[in-house]
């Protein structure tokens, strides 16, 4: 797997990009986290967040001119969050003395800072922290004249003094009442490693770089800040300190300085679904705690969740593509240790909705597909995840189901009907009806092919098996004279498109839309929500279905997520087998969205929705069912019944249409399965044929245990990679299986002593 390309895809995800306020704040206060803490009533923690980004936070908190509020996404939904008012309450209710850090050792480098406004003292603050000796020149008789002028009830002289106490550091020398003119400056420049001008009287005299503030190539740095803004002045002081530090250390002063200062975030938080809420009114001079909490609750905590909002998979794992991809990258790179991301990767249905929602072309379907293929290639795919589905596919492409025929008495056929593997398993009665409908309407010859398109191989990353399956279908297609496939299943269609390019196909629904519809057995006007299968995304079968529904007078109410934006039912990606809880999330999410009966046109969608109690019709129910009420809640046949149904569809069609007799193997023993064992078989993906083989082997080879207290037998049989255990009773009528279970681990039955 190309991990560099994978990481590039992850880089495109903007989930971790800052909200507008944080990006626009020239000091990049983490406003979102700050709001979260206020909302939770943690004023102390909120203050600590301010402390992380702001020098002397109590002064800035009380005085900031808050440019952030002008870009707040709330502006159009009741007005900007009152960010600065909330900073004030964080200072007022949440201040605690900063922890004393270790004193920073001196670097023995000298910097002069001229002017002690917000810009100058910020530069001092940062330079001291980096270990520089700083000489501060101020023309007035005290430092920070501006700050003292702005003192009030909340910003008391005592607080100002405490906040500026960092200047008492022994690395700082302060020269008050000292005017620096051009002559003096020339002397200073020679004396210091770097000089920062933060005094208006001098800044206008020098040209300087807008990003680094350096004047030419000299050691002079000029704090040009056109804004009459406190916070921009602070930012300029901070950025100049970064440049001076780099300059003195002799490293690049221009490298990686994007997104310093104020910038516009790429995040475009969508507010269409958000409700308007008015700003909170202050009852006093500053917010009460309750008012502050209410105001912070108005904050959207902007973060791109476009793909997460409609996806229960990303929700269950509480993850966005960016970190999802980092997890995959780690999972792919570890040699020894646990692959923790396996479960997550195998819980994606590969429905592709995230890709549709994303403005930056991040599609987890492609990423997960590629990852699964890599897992299989590296032999790191958990065997149990897809084992049953692959065995079921093998069954469908075995002589028990796989077959193909031309239409009787037609040498050339233009079409071949391919119902797929799940429709014959769930609704065996429809297949012959559809075939007859097609041959009645189309005269150019219609063959029949039964089998599985390879979707389970595709979904489980089994690339080689997928290619073999495509070759099997292609060979049969060539033998039939290269007819156009009529496909009843959208998953087949997506697989044909991907792996069998040379084969032409059309959906059954397009054919039905074009020809006269079958005569309805049961007609009633229904109110329906259409659920489009995820594999029908961007195909024209979606329109054909709507045309057909309109012709049979059903009323359709479109779901919010439909057509291009449709969701998966929970079967895609074989998540149904790999993580049943996740599959149920998908089913329930879709059921919750729908107020009417659902109309689907994929068998697995129908089976999954009805499995959790939702009335659901398959399009074919509306056209061919004798009893719509019964169809609406028809339960999914068991896994064994599904295989049995496929086999019978094949045999019945061959008999009824082509007049071929099919021999059935006689049952050797009369084996019945009780309810307990039937339920266990479903739960553990055990099919009847394997249970029967186990029982037969136990009788014929006497390989079984006996329980004299209840006269029951227990036996085991290893079939391929699974050991099946079957418990049964023998009575006059035959054999009753009362329990089954299985394991994959292989037990070495030969005695250890014998091996040695």
């Amino acid at each position: 797997m190309d991990l560099d390309r994978l990481l590039e895809t992850g880089d495109r995800c903007i989930n971790e990009e800052p909200p507008a306020c944080t990006a626009y704040c020239p000091l990049h206060l983490d406003v979102k986290l700050f709001m979260q803490e206020i909302e939770n009533g943690n004023f102390d923690k909120a203050y600590k967040i301010m402390e992380k980004k702001l020098p002397f936070p109590r002064i800035i908190g009380m005085l900031c001119d808050h440019p952030c509020e002008s870009v707040c996404v709330r502006n159009d939904k009741g007005g900007s969050i009152l960010i600065n008012e909330l900073e004030k309450v964080a200072v007022y209710y949440g201040y605690s003395k900063p922890k004393k850090g270790f004193p920073v050792p001196s670097l023995n480098k000298k910097v002069a800072v001229i002017g002690s406004g917000f810009m100058g003292i910020t530069a001092c603050y940062d330079l001291i922290k980096k270990g520089y000796n700083v000489d501060l020149y101020e023309k007035n008789n005290r430092v920070g004249e501006k700050v003292w002028e702005l003192q009030d009830k909340y910003l008391t002289p005592e607080i100002i003094e405490q906040e500026l106490s960092f200047l008492n550091d022994k690395k700082v020398s302060i020269f008050l009442n000292t005017t620096v003119d051009e002559n003096k400056l020339n002397d200073i420049i020679k004396e210091y490693n770097a000089v920062f001008i933060a005094a208006k009287s001098l800044t206008s005299l020098y040209e300087a770089d807008e990003c680094t503030f350096q004047a030419g190539n000299s050691n002079l740095f000029v704090g040009k800040s056109n804004e009459k803004s406190l916070i921009f002045s602070v930012s300029t002081g901070r950025r100049a300190a970064i440049t001076m530090d780099r300059f003195i250390k002799g490293v690049s002063i221009t490298a990686s300085r994007e997104n310093e200062g104020s910038y516009e975030t790429v995040l475009k938080y969508k507010i269409d679904d958000e409700e308007t809420t008015e700003k909170t009114i202050k009852s006093g001079e500053i917010f009460t705690k309750e008012e502050a909490v209410r105001e912070a609750k108005r904050c959207f905590k902007c973060r791109c969740r476009d793909c997460i909002k409609p996806c229960v998979h990303l929700q269950r794992f509480n993850i966005a593509p960016k970190s999802y991809i980092r997890n995959i990258n780690h999972n792919e790179r570890i040699i020894q240790g646990t692959h923790y991301a396996n479960k997550m990767i195998l819980s994606c249905t590969e429905c592709g909705l995230c890709g549709v929602m994303c403005d930056y072309d991040v599609d987890m379907k492609d990423v997960v597909k590629e990852t699964k293929i890599s897992m299989v290639e590296r032999k790191k795919m958990p065997q149990s995840a897809h084992d049953f589905a692959l065995k079921d596919m093998k069954f469908s492409n075995s002589e028990k189901f796989f077959t193909y025929r031309k239409e009787p008495e037609k040498e050339n056929i233009k079409y071949v009907f391919y119902p797929g593997c799940q429709l014959p398993a769930s609704s065996p009665d429809y297949i012959e009806k559809i075939y007859k409908y097609l041959t009645d309407n189309i005269n150019e010859g219609i063959g029949l092919m039964l089998g599985c398109c390879g979707a389970p191989a595709d979904w489980s990353g089994q690339n080689e098996l997928m290619k073999e399956t495509a070759a099997l279908i292609k060979n049969a297609w060539v033998e039939l004279g290269k007819p156009t496939f009529i496909l009843a299943c959208s998953s087949c269609m997506s697989n044909f498109k991907k792996y069998m390019e040379e084969i032409n196909f059309i959906s059954l629904w397009e054919v039905m839309d074009e020809y006269e519809l079958p005569k309805l057995n049961a007609s009633q006007s229904l109110k329906l929500n259409i659920h489009d299968p995820c594999t029908s995304r961007n195909t024209n079968m979606q329109d054909s279905i709507r045309n057909i529904v309109a012709k049979i007078n059903c009323e359709v109410h479109e779901l919010k997520y439909s057509k291009e934006f449709t969701k998966c039912c929970g079967y895609g990606g074989l998540v149904y087998f790999a993580n049943r809880e996740q599959s149920n999330d998908f089913i329930d999410d879709r059921i919750m969205e729908s107020n009417e009966d659902l109309l689907v046109y994929c068998t697995m969608c129908k089976d999954l929705f009805t499995s959790r109690g939702k009335r659901t019709f398959h399009m074919l129910d509306l056209l061919f069912s004798d009893d719509l009420e019964k169809s609406a809640l028809q339960k999914m046949p068991t896994l064994s019944e599904r295989q049995h149904n496929r086999m019978h569809v094949r045999n019945n069609l061959l008999k009824n249409i082509w007049g071929e007799e099919v021999m059935y193997e006689d049952e050797k023993y009369n084996i019945k399965i009780n309810d307990n064992a039937t339920a266990k078989m479903e739960e553990m993906y055990i099919v009847l044929s394997d249970v029967k083989k186990s029982v037969e082997n136990s009788i014929e080879n006497k390989e079984r245990f006996f329980n004299p207290s209840d006269n029951s037998y227990l036996t085991r049989l290893r079939i391929e990679n699974v050991t099946y255990w079957v418990q049964y009773e023998v009575n006059e009528e035959g054999i009753t299986v009362t329990n089954v279970y299985s394991h994959r681990m292989e037990v070495v039955e030969a005695n250890n002593e014998d091996i040695r």
Binding site: A385, F705, F706, N707, W725, H743, R744, V747, V748
Partner: protein
Amino acid sequence: MKIYDDANIPWICDKCNEKLILQKTNVLYLDADFEVELWKCPKCKMVLIDEELARGKILEVEKSLEDK
């Protein structure tokens, strides 16, 4: 690894009509090979895995080995 204490189990070997005994037995999965004490027929060596073990400890170990 010892899983069972010496409590009796209801099963006897149907072929040999023998009581089962606890004996060290090798079990394999993926690249792993463990020795576990399991019930087996002393004569024909057929090993018994009961449901609790299969769906409990064994399943757990299988799952964790699959993620290795």
